[in-house]
């Protein structure tokens, strides 16, 4: 590997050929300000359109200023990052950007968490010359079930476009119009609802300003909480408890399960339950379904569909309904844990406490924005009453807790309520990529072979690579497992299934890079993928600490079947806990 | 049109074409037909050069004048469009500008038939290189 020697701000450094000036400067401890640039290096995701021109610096021999995020180092280069010329240019460009931005900071959803605001502060901008007559580019606001697009605030960083097209390969967003009115939107500037958007929310997760935010359901939840006629039940997803603390200044990867439960009770929820319980339930249903299909398949039944695909991720479900509707019979028919929980809560549990389902409000705390969309899907309600009423994200919950003057770090740990709050370690690991299929393996192995598992940690299924595979020995039967996170990676595996080339028996797909811990509703990464790794580590640690780590050993799950459902895949279980899928291909414009 | 199979074939074809009056390039011998070239680039066409061209095609035949009328590209006199170039056999070509149908008629009757010049001549104010000549 060729090495380049260059000088930045009078400091010398050697770097491998192909390193950008920005990265070389970082190694020297020089933090060049950037705006559109984003590097999630562990996920191999880098966005550098070089459009904001904030990261510019003087480079010897070059007539104009160079964008350091996308200019490679060259031998003998001399770079100066803060001469008066550079500072003047940076400030003037920033003034331009701010001149075309709404001055809504006081009421903007991103205030305090906005990269543009932080940069304006860092550069000390105190006035916008010409603001009195400056035209501002405005667009129609678009509210979808999960995501709100307020493009007046877009700074054309192109991160959302990059995520949607290159990482997720959904293609709902791209740059449209030319010049001053250029923005990033679905084709023909139509609303997201009419595009192929899966609501995975990765665009929201990377947007530096308030242009892309989530629909805020906290006011609806608050209204339910203060309504004396309503019994408000809350369920929390596994990925929330390892990230919520970040919003309160705790280290990434701090597990705050107990504090979160305490905070929810303090907010006024009548029952604080755990989605992980429903995750265990999902394993029971999906695992049984899988084994049934596998058994028939191994016997040579041509109608038995193998591989089976997990179906707990609504972004992923949306994706294959749009792009692979011909494979509609391949995913498991099991609902997601959120929806299973809602179905059980409003029947089994509502009966237990003698409450009419119309008077029960089920709220979910999710790392995910697609869950907002999922809970309002028509098939997930009974006579117009949804199984899950509202889904709020980790960010919304944090904000809610702060609004209620609750200091989470000072709370004492509390336990979940029963009977829908007990979960095994298998339920917890749903939050990380590879977790669902590992949980499934723990149960499927024992159910299929009749033997006890010696090793519970299937580490070969863990990791951050986008597409992974492993073969698990089911007592002589080699089971091929495929795992993908990020929809672009999922597409690769699905193409193989479609062409018949796929060797897998079971495939787990998570729409978000990293799995649910990287969901669109989680505390923002601001480009730091170390946080994702810390969250994943925390998930597996929580699993290890649990006394029960296999879904089929959850006593409350066993009781649920005994008292109510009968057995997995029973008629009642099918009716409440299984679903079917739709062909949404007409929304995809296919080029022949 | 058959393929030209080699460089020497190309050179041969060039020699043939130079001599041919159909190609409309050289009309130096007396007795050769009159050559009329009408500038038909977008500016010419926009000013009505198509009508002028049709007029010449029709009228020269009707008035029994042996002539070859063809279209050509921009001659550069955009302020004077439509422009045409008329070459009488054995003479230097003359460029006429502001050619409307009336002037076209005059050009046929006076210049082409009798050699009498008509108003509106555009003096050629440029030199064109000759690729055959290695020096300028």
């Amino acid at each position: 590997m060729e090495t380049i020697k260059l000088t930045i701000d009078n400091k010398e450094i050697d770097v491998p050929k192909g390193t950008t000036i920005y990265k070389a400067a970082k190694e020297l401890g020089i933090d060049i300000p950037t705006l559109c640039y984003m590097d999630l290096h562990d996920m191999n995701i880098e966005n550098k359109p070089a459009g904001c021109r904030i990261c510019v610096a003087e480079v010897s021999g070059r007539r104009n200023l160079a964008p350091t995020c996308s200019t490679n180092c060259e031998q003998g280069m001399v770079v100066k990052t803060h001469t008066p010329r550079v500072l003047n240019a940076r400030r003037t460009v920033m003034e331009f950007i701010l001149s075309d931005h709404p001055k809504d900071c006081l009421i903007c959803a991103k205030s305090g968490n906005c990269e543009l605001q932080a940069m304006a502060h860092r550069l000390g901008i105190r006035e916008i010359p010409g603001a009195e007559y400056a035209e501002v580019s405005t667009y129609r606001e678009d509210t979808s079930p999960s995501i709100i697009r307020d493009l007046d605030k877009c700074i054309m960083c192109r991160r959302c476009e990059m995520m949607c097209n290159e990482v997720q390969t959904v293609g709902a967003l791209s740059a449209v119009n030319r010049g001053f009115m250029a923005t990033v939107a679905p084709a023909f500037e139509q609303n997201l609802e009419h595009s192929t958007c899966t609501y995975c929310g990765q665009c929201v997760a990377v947007c530096p300003t308030g242009a892309l935010t989530e629909v805020n359901h906290v006011p609806s939840v608050l209204r339910a909480l203060v309504d004396p006629s309503k019994t408000v039940v809350v369920q929390t997803a596994p990925a929330v408890r390892v990230a919520l603390g970040e919003e309160f200044g705790l280290e990434p990867g701090t597990i705050v399960t107990g504090k979160m439960t305490a905070a929810l009770r303090a907010l006024g929820f009548d029952y604080v339950f755990d989605t992980d319980f429903a995750a265990d339930l999902t394993i029971m249903e999906e695992g049984t379904e899988f084994l049934e299909r596998l058994t028939r398949y191994l016997k040579g039944d041509k109608n038995a569909r193998i591989p089976i695909l997990t179906s707990c991720c609504p972004g992923w479900v949306n994706f294959f309904e749009h792009y692979f509707p011909d494979l509609k019979d391949v995913p498991s028919t099991a609902k997601s844990p959120q929806q299973m929980f809602g179905a059980i809560a409003k029947t089994y549990f509502a009966d237990k406490i003698g409450v009419n389902r119309k008077d029960m409000v089920v709220v979910s705390i999710m790392p995910c924005l697609a869950k907002k969309y999922e809970c309002q899907r028509d098939e997930f309600s009974v006579d117009g009453n949804p199984d899950v009423d509202f889904s709020i994200s980790t960010r919304e919950l944090a904000n809610f807790i702060k609004q209620a003057n609750i200091d989470i770090s000072n709370l004492h740990d509390e336990e979940f309520d029963s009977p829908l709050g007990e979960s095994t370690g298998a339920g917890v690991i749903f939050g990380a990529t590879g977790g669902v299929i590992e949980a499934a393996c723990r149960t499927a192995y024992e159910l299929y072979t009749g033997k006890k598992l010696q090793r519970l940690d299937f580490t070969e299924l863990r990791g951050m690579e986008g597409v992974r595979s492993a073969t698990i020995d089911f007592d002589g039967l080699p089971l091929n497992i495929g795992i993908a996170h990020g929809l672009g990676n999922a597409r690769k595996l699905l193409n193989d299934v479609r062409s018949g080339k796929s060797q897998f028996h079971a495939i787990e797909v998570m729409a978000c890079p990293g799995g649910c811990i990287g969901g669109g509703g989680q505390p923002l990464l601001h480009g730091n993928s170390e946080i994702l790794k810390a969250r994943a580590t925390a998930i597996y640690e929580e699993d290890r600490k649990k006394p029960l780590r296999k879904s089929h050993e959850n006593p409350f799950i066993i009781k649920l079947y005994e008292e109510f459902l009968g057995k997995p895949n029973s008629e009642k279980a099918h009716h409440l806990l299984h679903t079917h899928y739709f062909n949404k291909q007409s929304k995809v414009i296919i080029k022949q | 049109m058959s393929k030209i199979k080699s460089f020497s074939d190309l050179k041969k074809k060039r020699e043939e074409l130079k001599r041919s009056t159909e190609a409309g390039i050289s009309a130096v011998e007396p007795g050769a037909p009159v050559q009329v070239k009408v500038a038909m680039a977008t500016c010419g066409i926009a000013s009505g050069a198509r009508n002028v061209m049709e007029f010449f095609l029709e009228q020269l035949e009707r008035r029994n004048v042996a002539a070859v009328v063809s279209q050509t590209g921009c001659m550069g006199y955009c302020y004077a469009e439509p422009t045409i170039e008329v070459r009488l056999p054995g003479q230097e070509p003359v460029v006429f500008g502001f050619v409307d149908l009336k002037r076209a008629d005059q050009i046929i009757e006076k210049y082409i038939k009798t050699g009498e010049l008509v108003d509106g001549i555009i003096p050629v104010n440029y030199e064109t290189i000759d690729l055959m000549n290695k020096e300028d």
């Binding site: 070089a50 001053f180 | 199979k5 060039r14 279209q71 006199y77 020096e135």
Partner: protein, 597 residues
């Protein structure tokens, strides 16, 4: 058969016309009548000779005598001495400026070498829809020579030695560009011709494509041979339907003759060309945006390096050149680098095609050797300023260029001189401005174009140009201040310094050059709130001339805002604070008593 044995051609161009060429014609005809020669000697009025500095001109045919600075009284002497006695009037002959010798035969006058057509060598001579005419004029000889007698390295050396620099605007050495493309190894390479020609007022490329399309096809094949490419692409703007049509015909005819396709001229060299169409975006004239447009992506430029020679179309080495650059290549190959580099200046060789437009008499296409001065272009070839107005400036390079004033008139045109003067060569559009053009409005006009055409990717161009445009608008409305002039300068410098591509890097040029060359006019707009050229309506005042006003009250009655006061039969007064400058009063006044200042 002509009854006339002699012709007297009198220049009727505006310059000469103003100097009484009409009277000269009359006098000549009278003399001929008097001497009974009217039947054998014809007097004819022609268009402009392009010799306006020495007008009025009289040319005697067929002996090619060229008389300059002729006066109406000279008519008698010309007829008596030259026509009757056969003795040329020596004192009226054009004198060679170096030797001071009179030149009897105009064919020898170097004045006519002011324009030298290399790129346009076939335009106006051949039918562009007939490949035979192109071949008869040495067409495809250069390609034949290259394929059979030269190696790719030799071709590249010839082009490099010629000193030709790109004619699209950037002026990069053509030979060096080809060499860089050759150096990058790849199984596939591309030759791309940039025929997007987006500069407003530019039609040089269009004229070449409409008048001599084969010159471009031949040059692209030569380029393909030298860099190792067998694929050619012409990216042409959809607004040129005639050029597209003629290119298609030319490509088909070349294919039929085997001059494009496989095994060209039996040498084993394959090269074919396809057309790609633009869709109305000026920014797609930038080479990376052009390439992305051809790839089916959004037409946005991307950061260079990597340059197209390294990774261009579909990531392969690609050479992009302008139409005009290509059109000269066959001539360079046939006549040699030495010949080409003998024309022009030290660092800018050859000729350049310009499209002369604006307030000039001879609007049109010209091709001049580099080094020709602006004065020669405007006042000689261009025939001077229309309607006898005063020259104010010339905008070169379109919206990416600067406006040069009379202190630059003797600048020899070449890449570096124009850059040093605060402008750029650009693609060749030259717009001439006169005393009635307001330099603040002109800058605003050019910014309007670049604001519309900016792709929107980078902040300085997307937003900065818009702000420049707004500020210029404020100044035109009299709402600017002296600080605003400093702001204009700072914004322009920063936009130039930070924009991602050539569009943004050059869009502030009109502003900066106007500030440099016409600063006083800008100051007048902001401090005196006046527009010296009389263009900016908001800064004009409607005034009633007391001498002419009879107090008829017609103006007061028609004023929509009641800004005019006065008693019947007494001089009226317009209140400038209320006046909205609609002009209705001036239209109504029958006594010519209202004027604008």
């Amino acid at each position: 058969m002509s009854k006339y044995n002699r012709h007297l051609l009198v220049c009727g161009g505006t310059g000469c016309h103003a100097s009484e060429s009409d009277s000269i014609v009359c006098n000549l005809r009278d003399e001929l009548e008097a001497k009974d020669l009217a039947d054998s000697v014809q007097v004819i009025i022609t268009g402009c000779f392009g010799f306006c500095g020495k007008g009025p001109i009289v040319k005697v045919m067929p002996d090619n005598t060229f008389y300059v600075e002729v006066k109406p009284d000279d008519a008698k002497e010309i007829i008596e001495e030259h026509i009757i006695k056969g003795r040329k009037v020596t004192r009226l002959l054009y004198k060679d400026p170096l030797s001071n010798q009179p030149i009897p035969d105009s064919a020898a006058i170097s004045q006519f070498r002011k324009q030298l057509r290399i790129v346009l060598r076939n335009c106006g001579f051949i039918n562009p829809e007939n490949i035979d005419e192109y071949i008869a004029r040495e067409g495809y000889q250069a390609l034949g020579k290259v394929l059979t007698e030269m190696t790719p390295e030799e071709v590249i050396k010839e082009v490099k030695d010629s000193g030709q620099r790109g004619r699209g605007g950037a002026g990069f050495s053509t030979g060096l560009k080809w060499e860089l493309a050759r150096r990058n190894q790849s199984d596939e390479k591309y030759v791309v011709c940039n025929a997007d020609e987006g500069d407003p007022g530019a039609f040089m490329d269009r004229s070449v494509l409409e008048g001599d399309p084969h010159s471009v096809l031949e040059a692209m094949a030569i380029c393909g041979f030298s860099i190792g490419a067998s694929n050619g692409l012409i990216y042409i703007r959809a607004e040129y339907p005639l050029a597209i049509e003629r290119l298609k015909i030319a490509i088909n005819q070349a294919r039929e003759y085997g001059l494009l396709g496989s095994d060209i001229l039996g040498t084993g060299f394959n090269f074919d060309i396809k057309l790609r169409y633009g869709a109305g975006a000026f920014v797609c004239g930038e080479e990376t945006a052009l390439i992305h447009s051809m790839e089916g992506l959004r037409g946005e430029p991307t950061v260079k390096p990597p340059f197209p020679a390294e990774a261009g179309y579909r990531g392969k080495p690609t050479n992009v050149n302008n139409v005009e650059t290509f059109a000269a290549i066959p001539a360079i190959i046939l006549k040699g680098a030495k010949w080409f580099s003998s024309i022009g200046t030290e660092k800018s060789k050859g000729t350049k095609v310009f499209a002369l437009a604006g307030k000039i008499n001879n609007v049109g296409l010209i091709e001049v050797p580099m080094g020709t001065t602006l004065r020669e272009v405007i006042f000689e070839i261009g025939g001077g300023i229309r309607n006898g107005k005063k020259f104010k400036g010339i905008q070169t390079g379109g919206p990416s260029g600067g406006c040069l004033s009379d202190k630059h008139l003797d600048t020899p045109i070449d890449f570096d001189n124009l850059l040093a003067a605060g402008s750029i060569m650009g693609s060749g559009a030259m717009i001439v401005l006169d005393e009635d053009d307001c330099m603040v409005s002109m800058a605003k006009f050019f910014l309007e174009f670049t604001v519309e055409e900016s792709c929107g990717k980078c902040a300085p161009c997307r937003i900065g140009n818009k702000r420049l445009h707004e500020l210029l608008g404020q100044i035109c409305e009299g709402k600017g201040s002296l600080e605003d002039l400093d702001r204009l300068r700072n914004m322009s410098i920063v936009i130039k310094d930070t924009a991602l591509c050539g569009l943004g890097q050059t869009s502030p040029n009109p502003v900066l050059s106007m500030l440099d060359n016409y600063y006083d006019e800008y100051v007048a707009h902001v401090t005196d709130k006046k527009c010296p050229a009389g263009q900016c309506r908001s800064l004009m005042e409607y005034v009633i001339n007391a001498e002419n006003c009879v107090g008829c009250t017609a103006c007061a009655r028609v004023c929509p805002v009641n800004a005019i006061s006065g008693e019947r039969k007494e001089v009226h007064l317009i209140n400038p604070a209320i006046c909205i400058k609609c002009g209705a009063c001036m239209e109504k006044c029958k006594f010519d008593a209202i004027f604008i200042r």
